[in-house]
C-alpha cells in the first residue's frame, strides 16, 4: 500500500515537472511567471523527495512486497546496507540519479533570486530533463513493482562486492558529480534561448560547476580505491570502459572550468565554454547510457536490456541535437570581444582546451573502437593501457610544461615573456637535479617516467615558490589554482614512482613454508575454512618480515556467498606511508601449494591523496566568498 503512495508521488512529480518545463520555455519572463515557476518546481521536488524518502523507509523496514527491495536487500543486513541496497542495481540507482538531478535543481532554485534573468529558463530545461528520465524510470525500469498477494519472507541479498562502506558512498558521490553539471548545461541553454548577449551565465554557474567537479573527483577516487582493495584489482586505474566513461566527463569538466574562468574574466572563449558545458553533460549522460544499456560488459554494467538502451539513446540524442542546434542558431550571439593576446593567461587556457579535447577524443575512441570492430568483424579486441599511455603521457607532459610557464602569465596582457625569471630558473635547476638523482639511484632509463617526474617536480616546485612569495610579500594568490595544480604535480610524481617501483609476483607456497620475494620473507602459517553470516571463506594466514626486521601478519581471504554463489577475493594490505604490501590468494594447486599474489605498490596512497587534494582545492574555492578564478 505504502509503495503505491510512493509510486503515485513520483508520477505526480513527473506531471508537475513537465508543467514547469513546458510553461517556462513557452512564456516570457515576468516577475509573476518567475515566481510561479520557482514555486511549482519546489513543489514538484517535494513530491519526488517524499516518494524517495518513502522508498528508503520501505527498504529499512524490509518491505519485501516490493520486488526490487526483495531482490536486492535482506533482513539480515545492517540498516546502512539496507539503504545502500537501493543503489545496488539498475532501477534503484536510476531513481537515486534522478533524485539527485532534481536536488541540484532545487538547491539552485532556492539559492538564486527570482529576479535573475536566466533562472526561469534554466529551471525549465532542468525540469524537462528530469521528466525524460522519470519517464524512462517509470516505463522501462520501474522500481515500484510489487510481488503480491504473497510477498517473500526474506530478500535475496545485496551483491556481496557492494557490502562495503566505500561502495555504499561511491555511486552517490559519482552521481552527484555527473548530474551536477546539469546546472551549467541548463544555464548555457537558457542563455542561448534568451538571446541576450549581455546576460552573464558564466558568473552564475561558476561555483555550481566547481561543486559538481569536486563530487566527480571524489567519486572517481573512491571508485579507484574500492577496486584496489575490494575487487582485488591491485592497482589504481585500469582503463576499464566504465572507468573511462567517468574520466571523460571529468576531463571535459576540468577543461570547462578553465574555459569558464576566461569567459568570466574577459568574455573570451565563450564559444568554447558553451560547447564544453554541453559536452560535459552529454558525456555524463553517455556514461549513464553505457552502464545501463549493457553494451559493455564490466563490473559496473547492470542487466542487459536493449529496450532501456534504446530509450536512453533516443533521449540523449534529443538533448544533444536540441542543444547543438540551438548553439548553431544562436552562434552570432557569442561574439568574442577582441583577439586573445599571445602569452596572456587566455592564450594558455585556450591551448589547454585543445589538449583536453584531444584526451577526451582519445578516450572516446578507446571506448568505442572495440565496439565498432566487434560489430564489423565479429571479433573481440581490447584497447588497453598501452594505447592510453601512448596518448596520455606525451600530452600530459606537454600540458604540464605549458602550465609551468603559464604561472607567470597575466590576464589579457601580452607580457614580455621572459623564460629566465628567478622562480623558473630555480624550479628548473631543482627539478633537473632531483630527476638526475632519481635516474642514478633507481638506475632507470625509462624516458617517459623520468620526464613525467621532471615536469611533476617543475609544477610542484614552481607552485611552492609561488606560495612562499605570496606568504612573504602578502601577494594575492588564487588558492584554488595553486592547490589544484600543486596536486596535479604530486599526482604525476606519484604515478611515475608507482609505475617505476611497483612489482608483483605470483608465488606458490605450501603451508609452513617460507618464500622470499624482494626484501620480504613470506611465511605461510595456516589456512582454514571460516564461516561468515552469509558466506564460506578460506582464510590464509601469512607472516611477513622485511629486511629492517619489521614483522606483520596478513590474512587474505576467498569468500563464496551462499545466496548468489559468487566468489570474491578479500585482499590483505599492509599500509605504510611509502608503500603497500598487497596479498591475495588464488587457487590450490595439485601438489598442495597455494597461489599467492604479492604486490608491492609504491606511493599508491599518494595518488589518491593528490586526487583528494584537487577536490579540496575545489572546496576551498566554493567556500570562499571572493570571486575567484582558476
Amino acid at each position: 500500500m505504502i509503495i503505491e503512495i510512493s509510486h503515485f508521488l513520483s508520477i505526480l512529480s513527473t506531471g508537475l515537472f513537465f508543467l514547469v518545463g513546458s510553461f517556462s520555455l513557452s512564456t516570457s519572463n515576468t516577475p509573476y511567471t518567475s515566481n510561479l515557476i520557482s514555486r511549482t518546481y519546489s513543489h514538484a521536488f517535494l513530491f519526488l523527495l517524499s516518494s524517495f524518502l518513502i522508498y528508503i523507509w520501505l527498504a529499512i523496514t524490509d518491505n519485501f512486497s516490493v520486488q526490487y527491495i526483495a531482490n536486492h536487500s535482506n533482513s539480515a543486513l545492517p540498516i546502512f546496507y539496507k539503504i545502500s541496497s537501493i543503489w545496488s542495481a539498475h532501477e534503484g540507482s536510476m531513481f537515486l540519479w534522478i533524485f539527485f538531478l532534481a536536488l541540484w535543481g532545487f538547491i539552485f532554485n532556492i539559492n538564486i533570486k527570482n529576479t535573475e534573468v536566466l533562472k526561469p529558463k534554466t529551471i525549465g530545461v532542468i525540469s524537462l530533463i528530469i521528466v525524460g528520465f522519470l519517464l524512462f524510470l517509470l516505463i522501462t525500469s520501474n522500481p515500484f513493482i510489487t510481488i503480491l498477494p504473497i510477498a517473500p519472507l526474506n530478500g535475496a541479498d545485496i551483491n556481496p562486492v557492494l557490502q562495503d562502506p566505500a561502495l555504499a558512498i561511491h555511486p552517490p558521490t559519482l552521481y552527484l558529480g555527473y548530474v551536477g553539471f546539469v546546472i551549467p548545461f541548463a544555464c548555457s541553454l537558457a542563455f542561448l534561448i534568451n538571446g541576450d548577449p549581455s546576460a552573464k551565465w558564466e558568473q552564475l554557474v561558476n561555483k555550481w560547476s566547481v561543486s559538481a567537479w569536486v563530487f566527480l573527483t571524489v567519486g572517481i577516487t573512491l571508485g579507484s580505491w574500492w577496486a584496489y582493495y575490494e575487487l582485488g584489482w591491485g592497482g589504481y586505474w585500469f582503463w576499464d570502459p566504465v572507468e573511462n566513461v567517468a574520466l571523460m566527463p571529468w576531463l571535459a569538466a576540468t577543461a570547462f572550468l578553465h574555459s569558464l574562468s576566461v569567459s568570466i574574466k574577459s568574455s573570451q572563449l565563450r564559444t568554447w565554454t558553451i560547447l564544453l558545458s554541453i559536452t560535459v553533460f552529454s558525456l555524463s549522460l553517455f556514461g549513464a547510457f553505457i552502464v545501463r544499456s549493457g553494451i559493455i560488459d564490466s563490473v559496473h554494467s547492470f542487466a542487459n536490456d536493449p529496450q532501456r538502451g534504446l530509450y536512453l539513446l533516443a533521449f540523449i540524442a534529443v538533448i544533444i541535437a536540441a542543444s547543438l542546434s540551438l548553439f548553431i542558431l544562436r552562434f552570432s550571439l557569442i561574439k568574442p570581444s577582441g583577439n586573445i593576446k599571445t602569452f596572456s593567461k587566455q592564450s594558455f587556457i585556450s591551448i589547454n582546451n585543445i589538449f583536453f579535447g584531444t584526451l577526451i577524443f582519445s578516450v572516446m575512441l578507446g571506448v568505442v573502437y572495440p565496439l565498432i570492430y566487434e560489430y564489423l568483424y565479429d571479433q573481440k579486441i581490447s584497447v588497453g593501457a598501452p594505447f592510453y599511455n601512448a596518448i596520455f603521457i606525451p600530452i600530459v607532459i606537454l600540458a604540464s610544461l605549458f602550465l609551468f610557464f603559464s604561472v607567470d602569465s597575466k590576464w589579457s596582457r601580452s607580457i614580455n615573456f621572459k623564460i629566465f625569471t628567478k622562480p623558473i630558473v630555480l624550479s628548473l635547476i631543482f627539478s633537473v637535479i632531483i630527476t638526475f638523482a632519481i635516474h642514478f639511484v633507481f638506475k632507470t632509463n625509462n624516458v617517459a617516467i623520468l620526464l613525467s617526474i621532471f615536469v611533476g617536480l617543475l609544477v610542484i616546485i614552481r607552485y611552492l615558490i609561488e606560495v612562499s612569495i605570496s606568504l612573504i610579500f602578502k601577494k594575492y594568490l588564487n588558492p584554488f589554482s595553486a592547490i589544484a595544480h600543486f596536486a596535479l604535480g604530486l599526482l604525476l610524481v606519484s604515478i611515475s614512482f608507482n609505475s617505476l617501483l611497483s612489482t608483483e609476483r605470483a608465488l606458490n607456497i605450501k603451508i609452513n613454508e617460507f618464500e622470499e620475494y624482494k626484501d620480504l620473507t613470506i611465511y605461510f602459517k595456516d589456512i582454514r575454512v571460516r564461516k561468515g553470516s552469509n558466506f564460506d571463506a578460506v582464510k590464509a594466514e601469512f607472516n611477513i618480515k622485511d629486511k629492517n626486521g619489521n614483522s606483520f601478519d596478513l590474512s587474505p581471504e576467498k569468500r563464496r556467498y551462499f545466496t548468489r554463489g559468487q566468489i570474491t577475493t578479500e585482499t590483505a594490505i599492509h599500509v605504510s606511508p611509502l608503500k603497500d604490501i598487497y596479498l591475495t590468494i588464488g587457487d590450490q594447486l595439485e601438489d598442495g601449494s597455494w597461489i599467492v599474489n604479492v604486490q608491492i605498490n609504491f606511493l599508491i596512497r599518494w595518488i589518491w591523496f593528490s586526487a583528494c587534494l584537487m577536490a579540496f582545492a575545489g572546496i576551498v574555492l566554493v567556500s570562499t566568498n571572493r570571486k575567484s578564478n582558476i
Binding site: 560547447l275 540524442a317 560489430y375 559468487q566 566468489i567 587457487d587 590450490q588
Partner: protein, 173 residues
C-alpha cells in the same frame, strides 16, 4: 562560423548516436555457443564412485552432459544453476574431468549433487573426443547425437538463449 565547422559539430555526435543505435539493435550471437551436430563418441568409463562402468547406452535418450572438476572455480559458480536444472527434472550427467575421486566426492558432499550419473574421466579421454577445451562445458545430447554445446559457465540467461531454442525446436524433455 563556417558551414563546415557547423556540420562537424552536428555530424560527430550524430554518427556516434547512429553507431550506438546499430550496436544496440544488433542480433548478438553468444560466444561459446556451438550448434554443430555430431555423434556422441563411444566410451566405457567408470562411474565416479567406482561401482560400475558406464557406456552411452546407460544414459537415456535426452540429457545434458556437464564437464566439471573440483579444482574448477567456475564450476562452483555454475553449481547452483545445475542444482536447479536437476530440480526441474532435466537429467544432468556429470563428466568429472581430470579430477581425484576423493576430491570430487568431497566437493559433491559439500555443495550437493545435481548429477544423475557421473562419469569419471580421470585421463580426459572422453573429454578429448568431445573436443572439450576446459571446464565447465555443457553438451545437449539427443538420441546419441550432440545437438548443442556451450563453453563456459551456464546460467539462466545462457540456458534460455543457447539451449531453450534447440529444446523447443525438437520438443525435448
Amino acid at each position: 562560423m563556417k558551414i563546415i565547422l557547423k556540420l562537424i559539430i552536428l555530424i560527430l555526435p550524430a554518427s556516434f548516436i547512429l553507431m550506438f543505435f546499430l550496436l544496440l539493435t544488433e542480433d548478438d550471437s553468444i560466444i561459446g555457443a556451438d550448434y554443430r551436430q555430431f555423434a556422441l563418441p563411444q566410451f566405457n568409463l567408470e562411474e565416479l564412485d567406482g561401482s560400475s562402468f558406464i557406456t552411452s547406452s546407460d544414459l537415456g535418450d535426452t540429457y545434458i552432459i556437464n564437464v566439471w572438476a573440483s579444482w574448477c572455480i567456475t564450476c562452483r559458480v555454475e553449481h547452483p544453476y545445475l542444482m536447479s536444472l536437476n530440480k526441474k527434472g532435466i537429467p544432468v550427467i556429470g563428466l568429472n574431468y581430470k579430477d581425484e575421486e576423493n576430491d570430487a566426492l568431497e566437493w559433491l558432499s559439500k555443495f550437493g549433487n545435481p548429477y544423475k550419473k557421473i562419469i569419471h574421466d580421470y585421463k580426459g579421454t572422453l573429454a578429448l573426443d568431445l573436443g572439450v577445451t576446459g571446464a565447465p562445458e555443457t553438451f545437449l545430447v539427443n538420441n546419441g547425437k550432440i545437438i548443442a554445446h556451450y563453453q563456459g559457465e551456464i546460467n539462466e540467461s545462457i540456458w534460455s538463449q543457447v539451449f531453450i531454442p534447440v529444446i523447443k525446436e525438437k520438443e525435448l524433455f
